[in-house]
């Protein structure tokens, strides 16, 4: 009896799924809107910001109707693959995967439609086979070190806290090298797990004149620990993304996630107007922002004016995130 029930439920489910795909062929007479598929690999406020920037810019700039299909893969690679296949079946005109891994997957599966990889970094050689354009969001540690040096020309000792994530190693090397050219000795401290952060924060060299954190997911998730230390020692805590500033870092030089979406939308416009995707050079984020947390800066005994002065000199936009709730950056 139970087995019959199971079979029945299965069969009805199969029937339902078979009927389910008929609903997509509803309106043929209306002018067909441009279909754009956005692939979000995992739930994260930053991903939503990129999506919002992309959708808003494209809707404002293009005069044609646009339909966005947003696919959220919830960190499941199999699901993500199914979603790309489904977008393919729907006859999507342009794909906008967010982050490197979904861009790779889309590029491997889709060859006959343009793809705009948002916040994705891939070698140029990979762009030949598919119609792939890229918006690269990485900012270099050199830019950050130079900015720090401009604000604090007298500082010679910085501590860089980073995790054992493989992505970080080359960036740490670059930061040290960049420090040497401007006379800052970068003291590196690695953590392998979040609890390490506390002991590292307690054992900082007394000579250190500031704590630096790069775009490093593990360290950023424990930024509050470092913020306390920075306040006790009256030294600045500097980071490279807006989220860490909301959570207690003094200031950061970084990219507004929304802006990545905006840049991506501009690339998409070019493609939809007929420029072959592969001929568009990879977009680097030139419009950098300085995120500040005035409360944290005061606690760390830092002068906002110096930061604002240097930001204005380099044409960086100042974004005050002091009282914004975490994860909600409009």
């Amino acid at each position: 009896m139970k087995r019959i029930f199971t079979y029945l439920s299965l069969i009805s489910l199969l029937l339902l799924t078979a009927c389910g795909n008929k609903q997509t062929t509803a309106n043929n007479n209306a002018p067909k809107p441009i279909q754009i598929g956005i692939i979000i690999p995992i739930e994260h406020p930053a991903m939503d910001e990129i999506t919002r920037g992309f959708e808003e810019t494209l809707t404002a700039d293009l005069k044609q109707p646009i339909e966005f299909q947003v696919m959220r893969a919830q960190g499941d690679v199999n699901l993500q693959r199914s979603m790309i296949l489904q977008l393919q079946n729907k006859g999507i005109d342009l794909y906008a995967p967010i982050a490197t891994q979904p861009t790779e997957m889309t590029a491997a599966m889709i060859h006959d439609r343009p793809i705009v990889g948002l916040a994705a970094l891939l070698p140029e050689s990979t762009r030949a086979k598919s119609q792939l354009a890229l918006v690269d969001d990485e900012i270099t540690p050199t830019q950050i070190i130079q900015f720090i040096h401009a604000i604090y020309p007298t500082k010679t000792q910085l501590t860089l806290v980073y995790s054992n994530n493989d992505k970080m190693a080359p960036q740490v090397e670059e930061a040290i090298a960049a420090g040497k050219t401007v006379g800052i000795q970068v003291d590196k401290r690695m953590i392998t797990a979040l609890p390490d952060l506390y002991s590292i924060a307690q054992s900082l060299s007394p000579q250190t004149q500031g704590i630096l954190v790069l775009k490093d997911v593990l360290v950023v998730s424990g930024i509050a620990t470092l913020s306390q230390t920075a306040s006790q020692k009256h030294i600045p805590l500097i980071s490279a993304d807006d989220g860490s500033v909301q959570n207690g870092s003094g200031f950061a030089l970084g990219v507004k996630e929304y802006q990545i979406g905006v840049e991506g939308a501009k690339v998409a416009e070019q493609i939809l107007q007929g420029t072959p995707a592969a001929t568009i050079p990879t977009v680097k984020m030139t419009k950098l922002s300085v995120f500040i947390n005035t409360k944290a800066l005061t606690a760390q005994g830092q002068d906002l004016a110096a930061i604002e002065k240097e930001a204005a000199k380099d044409n960086y936009a100042i974004v005050d995130v002091t009282n914004q709730p975490v994860g909600d950056l409009k």
Partner: protein
């Protein structure tokens, strides 16, 4: 409907070797081998790293399979002659494999978009030929696996899962069988990983998460649907293969089908999970009766 079936077929195809591997560990050896989560990535990572270095895809594929087998042998070794639970040994190996995979790959993600792979030539010609070449490689693995199941070794592995103590008292070397069994199932998982990496265009450190559970779910589902109709026990090996195919295909059919309803993926996993739990419940009831 045809699009749905095609999506199901192409997605299932790359995971069939994995399903066979899980069939071997779960059905024959009667062990839940979590190593598969790690050896899937190991296969993908080794393959991607080697072809990026310019080594021929065929050689890279074979090396990737061997690395999977070594990972399995390590899990067998950790079981210390049956004194440590295979589940624990597998989790431990897969834990260790995370670091190993990272070391092998050198970075969390290797992209294969512009690298020649086993199938890149065929896909450049036409998509149909591409999938045909994938089916050929998977088919070869399936045939090899079927021959193995029907062989003396296959019988011994099944006997090992049934009653290792008796097998040992009958004079068989159970340590050898344990190593062979776990090596083979992880070899198949690594094969699946390497094939998947070529299809999705990259090897990623996180691509193996949950693969074992999907595989076991699919196999239980397939067996529950197929085995009640198989009365002749000499058809067992064949029907187990069929159950693996049907299970994995059904999993992706339902996944792709549910996606078409625009269901929030959060509930999608819940629905899939509930469905699998339902099948597992009825399947375990059947076992406890016999």
């Amino acid at each position: 409907m045809i699009a749905l079936l095609l999506a199901t077929l192409t997605q299932s195809l790359t995971l069939i070797p994995l399903a066979l591997g899980i069939n071997l560990s779960y059905t024959l050896l009667r062990a839940t081998d979590m190593t598969i989560d790690g050896s899937f990535v190991l296969g993908a990572g080794v393959f991607a790293q080697l072809v990026t270095m310019g080594i021929s895809p065929i050689l890279a594929f074979l090396v990737a399979l061997s690395c999977g087998a070594i990972a399995g042998a390590f899990t067998a070794f950790l079981q210390n002659g049956g004194k440590v639970d295979p589940l624990l040994a597998g989790i431990l190996t897969s834990f260790i494999l995370y670091s190993v995979n990272m070391a092998v790959m050198g970075r969390p993600n290797i992209n294969l978009l512009s690298t020649p792979t086993l199938f890149s030539g065929a896909f450049a010609h036409s998509t149909t030929l591409g999938w045909f070449s994938v089916a050929l490689v998977v088919g070869l693995l399936v045939v090899a696996f079927y021959i193995l199941l029907q062989s003396r070794l296959g019988l011994c592995l099944r006997a090992f899962g049934d009653n290792p103590a008796l097998l040992s008292r009958q004079g068989y070397n159970v340590t050898y069988l344990r190593v062979t069994g776990f090596s083979l199932n992880n070899l198949l998982a690594a094969a699946s990983g390497a094939i998947t990496a070529q299809i999705i265009g990259y090897a990623d450190i996180g691509m193996g998460v949950g693969m074992t559970l999907i595989g076991i779910g699919a196999i239980v589902l397939g067996q529950h649907l197929i085995l009640p109709f198989i009365k002749k026990h000499y058809l067992r090996a064949g029907s187990e293969l069929l159950a693996a195919f049907i299970g994995i295909a059904l999993y992706f059919f339902i996944l792709n089908g549910l996606l078409r309803f625009n269901i929030n993926p959060i509930y999608l996993k819940l629905l899939l999970g509930v469905l699998l739990a339902l099948f597992l419940r009825t399947a375990t009831r059947k076992v406890s009766l016999s």
